[in-house]
Structure formats: structure tokens, C-alpha cells
Symmetry: C2
Subunit: 198 residues, 2 copies
DNA sequence: TTCATCCTGAAACGGTCGTTCCAAGTTCCG
DNA sequence: CGGAACTTGGAACGACCGTTTCAGGATGAA
């Protein structure tokens, strides 16, 4: 083993992930990545390959470290509908306040970009879509078994609806929609799922 | 009046609109616009100004000629819920089949792009959001007056939910989601609005 | 017809893009 | 200590970016 890397690859990837997240793949230049990470072009290319591979690695890191844990926690939550409400409350807050306010969701942003034509990008997006949908379905099945669900609500279909709702929240939050407005809208959408609500 | 334009500005703008719609603002070059429209840089700049202004004009044309008429027809539809179902059926078909399949919605794409930080772009997006929401609210009020609405559904809140649902459909359709899947999901979402559904 | 006015075509601007290359430096193994 | 293996810094590549400029052609008014 002759020489060792002088930097932490995952730390650099996390910086790149943030750039791609906030500005998008097309408008994030390699130069911007080198400036943000502190390392130079050679190290970047030697470690991650070209820009497309770097973006893919950033997308996959995002799914692995940010999206997947949330999906797993959601799927394993035994509370039923309250878990769904908590998920959306956290989503709205994360999108409207704090460090990542108005960044939207990195994956939803990728849907709308030119990069969505890339089969490997699409595979990441599809994988995340399935994860989130399956998590919602599990929670809705739990809710149904506990009698929380309004009659007529099918967990599989309801889960797809909730995923689209989450996409909508992510889209709308990027244009500066207020947290209060989104909380209210989400509450109205979820009210239709609960038994005894009407 | 010395000389007259040798081309139809709106025809050129429509070509540019399609490029921005399909590929996004960042990845559509002026060169691509000149190639698509057939006119050269000078005429382009003299007519529309720089790239930002061209993109804004394309966005506004999109709202004026494609989005606004649909919103107006929706708002004026006297049928209530069937109008909502027809809107979404048409949306899903337009996004999944035909000439514009998998292009998504130009406005939703703009939400996710870097251009959403531009105040003028954001004004266009907000205007469209309000138009669509108001149209949905009008239709839901009609539905309520005709007894079609499930008790507990507030037209104002339901309208916001439907807009987010539409955003979700637009996002998901760009990654190749099937029309059948989206039709089914939309149907499940709308079922919760109808009276006697549960 | 003359002329002022506008449009068109094409070349060119500086800047930035993603990517490659290579010399110099650093590290571990024997 | 010698040298192979690998990283690093930095220059350089051609291509493309958005934009400007200008000469020359076309047009309508007087």
C-alpha cells in the first residue's frame, strides 16, 4: 500500500450531495465541487469517476443515509395513522425550516431534471418510490388492523396516494410555500383516511 | 416602418417552450433554440432578449396557452366531481401517452430547477398554483352544493390537496410510471371525496 | 429613387464546461 | 534505504456556453 488518500471520501461525497441537492445536477459544476470539498480535480476523478458517476454516488448516498432510514422507521412503526401524520409533519418542517429549507427533496428534484432520462438514475428513483410506497402500505395495514382506517381505503392504493402527496409537498415547498399552509393541506388529505371522520 | 420580421415570433417561442419543457432551462442552450427555430442568434436576442427573458416568456406562454384554458374550463364546469375525474384522467393520459409523454409538467419541472430561485419565475409558478387551486375549489363548491361531497370535506382545503396530487402525478410520470397505475392511484385519491363512498 | 430604419447572417468575444495529462510528492513494502 | 504504488497539485485540452458586434441586405416612407 504505497500512498493513502489525504481526505475522507464520504465526507467529500456528502458535500457534493448537498450541492447536487440544492442546485441540481446540471447547474453544479465540477469546479464548484472542488471548491466545496477542498480537494482538486485529480483526486475527485480518481475517487468517483466522472461527473455522472459522482452524481449517481451522491444520489445513492442520499437514499442510503437520508431516505431509507426514514422509510424503515415508518414501516416498522406500530402506531398506524399517527405514524403517517408524524412523517408528514417532519417532512413539511424539514422542507420549510432549518438548514435544508426550500431545497426540496433531492430525489424529486432529480425526477424533474434532465438526468431522469438516465436509466441508472431512474433505477434509484424507482427504488426509492417502492421503498416509500411499501412503508406507507405497511403502516396503513397496521392502521387497518387496529380499526383506524375508514372503510373502503385499500392500503396498497392509499400508499401510492400518500407517495404522490409527499412528492407534491416536496415540489411546492421549493417555491417558498409556508409550513402552516402545507401542514393544513396534509392534515386535510390525511383526514380522509381515518375512520369516523365523516 | 423599414423592415419587418421574417419569422413568426410566437411560432419561434412555441419551439423554445417545447425545448425548455422537455429538457429544462439549464440544459437548453441558445444554440439548441436557434437550431430548433431556424432563426439565428441576432433575431433571437433582438426579439426576446437574453436567455432568462426567453425562458420567462416561454413559461408565461405555457401558462397562458396550455394551463390557463384548462383551469378556466375546470372552474366553469357545472358537473362537480366528474369534472375533477375528467381533469385527472386527461392529465394522466397527456403525461404518459402521445407527443408529450414523459415530459412532465413544464411548471412543475421549473419548481425543481435552479430557476425556481428567480423571483419572476416564482411569480409565474405561484400564479399558476393559485389558478389551479381556485379552479379546484370552485368545482368542489359546485360538488358540495349538489350533495356529491363527503361530509367533512372543505372545498378550500380539498383544492390544495388536489393540486399537490396533480404535482405528484406530474413528477411521477416523468420517470415512466404507467398510465394504468396513475389512473388507479388518482381514482383511489378521489374516492375519498365522494359522498357515500364509505 | 433616396434614405433612414430595421432585420439578418456570420464571425468573434471572454468565460466556463468536463476531462485528461504529467511531474512532483508521499507512503508502505522488502 | 531503494523503489514501486498511489495521490496530489496544477496546467492544459477542445468544446461549448451566453452574449455582442457589425457589415450588408431588405423594407417602407417621402
Amino acid at each position: 500500500m504505497p500512498d493513502i488518500k489525504h481526505f475522507d471520501p464520504d465526507r467529500a461525497l456528502e458535500r457534493a450531495e448537498r450541492l447536487f441537492w440544492r442546485h441540481g445536477a446540471a447547474t453544479t459544476s465540477i469546479q464548484a465541487v472542488t471548491a466545496e470539498t477542498g480537494l482538486n480535480r485529480s483526486s475527485l476523478y480518481a475517487t468517483f469517476g466522472d461527473k455522472r458517476e459522482l452524481h449517481l454516488a451522491a444520489l445513492r448516498r442520499h437514499v442510503r443515509l437520508r431516505s431509507a432510514p426514514v422509510c424503515a422507521a415508518l414501516a416498522a412503526d406500530p402506531r398506524g395513522l399517527p405514524a403517517v401524520r408524524e412523517f408528514f409533519a417532519g417532512l413539511v418542517d424539514a422542507r420549510c425550516e432549518g438548514e435544508y429549507a426550500r431545497w426540496g427533496c433531492m430525489l424529486v428534484n432529480a425526477y424533474a431534471g434532465e438526468e431522469a432520462a438516465d436509466p441508472e438514475v431512474r433505477a434509484v428513483l424507482d427504488g426509492h418510490h417502492r421503498s416509500l410506497r411499501d412503508a406507507f402500505r405497511a403502516v396503513l395495514e397496521t392502521a387497518r388492523d387496529q380499526g383506524q382506517l375508514a372503510p373502503g381505503v385499500v392500503p396498497g392504493d392509499g400508499a401510492e396516494v400518500l407517495v404522490l402527496l409527499a412528492y407534491g409537498v416536496n415540489v411546492r415547498s421549493r417555491a417558498g410555500a409556508g409550513a402552516g399552509e402545507l401542514h393544513r393541506t396534509v392534515a386535510a388529505a390525511l383526514a380522509g383516511l381515518a375512520s369516523g371522520s365523516r
